[in-house]
Symmetry: C2
Subunit: 343 residues, 2 copies
């Protein structure tokens, strides 16, 4: 069974005995058409199962394609899934479709994806920048009117809109919560790589909170993990120090899973925990997990709205929009520090 050719405008026109342009007119509701021809054309379209070739149309019209290119680190990460959903919800009514790819936080893969998207003449480009990626090659595109938005982290080498969480303030609030409950030995388990923007910002918030409380910054309390298992290891390491941590701050959702899993395994209910980014079932844990919740929906919505405004001609300065985080106190951060019992 040979892959027979899809019907074209010309096929429909021939079927009706009319010119291709007339068919085009009917389908695009461009120009006039007699009720009679319109009906005949629509009938032929249905009969042949004709679907206009969007690529051909786009070529001729010359404008950008009705797609939006989205580069994220990992399609399977629920955080980015939520962001993508919000973007789609926002752009759908404008008729834009999502072209997605994951970079695995690899600058080369990120570049390959953006190049592909550019070759497809996307209407909008949204990128979660990988560490080490440079974006100066996008300057000319942005100058030519292509909206480019960075998500979750700022990009390098290109001045454009960025939508990020309030990482620093959020981490500060989470750590301050632990300090308020008497903790002085607070472990920090962050993202990898250590140069990652979100990790740096959250660590900065951690340090600020310590400073405000006149607590020393002890490098031995700061570590990192790039997956759940790594967070398990980091947890037992921090609890095994000569002067161990009495509380832990999780730098992201994956780390949070590792910390909680390890504390559950080792039955260390005495350790206070605050996590950056919410996780499912946080309320069902014992104690329920206190988190600094991000708002991925708001990040996605804002990114989409910003890009659409640019598409509509907004030529104002590039902005960095910070989406607030919210401390959700559920219990795990309120376990008092044992050392404070100074009877």
């Amino acid at each position: 069974m040979a892959a027979n050719r899809r019907p074209t405008l010309a096929d429909v026109a021939r079927e009706v005995g009319v010119s291709a342009k007339t068919v085009s007119r009917v389908l695009n509701e461009d120009g006039p058409a007699s009720a009679q021809t319109r009906e005949q054309v629509l009938a032929a379209v249905a009969k042949l199962g004709f679907q206009p070739n969007l690529m051909a149309r786009n070529i001729r019209v010359g404008g950008p394609d009705t797609t939006i290119g989205l580069v994220i680190p990992d399609l399977g990460n629920p955080f980015f899934g939520a962001v993508a959903r919000a973007i789609e919800d926002t752009v759908r009514e404008r008729g834009l479709t999502l072209l997605m790819g994951s970079s695995a936080d690899d600058p080369d893969r990120e570049r390959a994806l953006t190049d592909k998207f550019l070759a497809r003449r996307v209407s909008i480009l949204m990128i979660v920048p990988s560490v080490g990626a440079d974006h100066s090659h996008l300057k000319s595109h942005r100058a030519a009117g292509l909206p480019v938005v960075f998500l979750d982290r700022p990009g390098v080498g290109l001045s454009t809109d960025s939508i990020v969480s309030s990482n620093r303030a959020g981490a500060h609030d989470g750590v301050a919560h632990l300090i308020a409950h008497g903790h002085r030995r607070i472990g920090f388990i962050g993202d990898l790589p250590v140069k990652l923007y979100t990790r740096r910002e959250r660590l900065a918030g951690y340090r600020t909170a310590l400073q405000e409380a006149d607590l020393p910054y002890d490098r031995a309390l700061v570590t990192n993990a790039h997956d759940q298992q790594g967070a398990v290891t980091a947890t037992s390491q921090l609890l095994g120090l000569a002067d161990p941590a009495t509380a832990l701050f999780a730098g992201n959702n994956i780390v949070a899973l590792g910390i909680v899993a390890e504390l559950a395994r080792s039955k260390r209910k005495d350790i206070a925990v605050v996590a950056f980014d919410d996780v499912p079932l946080a309320e069902a844990l014992e104690p329920a997990l206190t988190v600094v919740a991000q708002d991925p929906e708001e990040i996605g919505r804002t990114a989409a709205a910003t890009a659409l405004a640019r598409l509509d001609g907004d030529r104002s300065r590039a902005r960095t929009i910070t989406v607030p985080t919210r401390l959700i106190v559920r219990g795990s951060g309120e376990h008092p520090a044992p050392a404070l019992q100074e009877g």
Copy 2:
């Protein structure tokens, strides 16, 4: 600042003083080209920031576009995120890019998306079919050689490849596990709508397990929920029956979250639970949550591999491939039924 035109092949050709075809040859490594011209061309390409227009290329070449259309119910659902990731990983080396959209389980939105994808001449179409959707309009496309794959659920009106979980066997095993621990009053909280394929299959597995143990099927024990809050309500309802459930089977991951949350809130540690589909932190709960785990990665990989084989000319009969589930015993299903204490 006007949106100035992107450079074309002709622009590059003019810059070098050579024909458009020569530039095309160099870029596509088609036909011969002197080292000299090659260099000049590449230099001009870099200088102008030329990127070939993939749509124009596709039109001329006539084949399908190097995209794969993927329709899922919800971009934010981690299960489908994992499926999408596996698909992307499998097709990436073939140079295919993901075109994604969410249907919200609405047949009309599903149809609008597939039509868009068809208009873009995708190489492959993958669909998680919505309840009530009909797919006979895809017959001609499939006959013309377009690989169409249904994910998670079979489609209606079209005979083509489907990749599904072993819903029935998995649910059976989970319920049998509860029965083996003495439970006779096992509540079932399923998906909505009730006609959803996965719900029907899982309920069938539940019934089979009951039958095998000569337990009656009590409709009062079967309910449903379409979100976490609904599952909370359903849980308290099943536990409030005159002859209440002593164990619960969750029909999906969202329901599992609701059940666990409600049992934690009401401190009902005496209730045994098994959930269909794994959830994060299942091990950290008390008791740890026993689940019938699906394998979204394998579903995605299999779907992609099947579609690629079709693309390579496999014309064998449409297959339904069942990806096994796996019972992961963690404790929550082993709580003994109180009624069984018969001195």
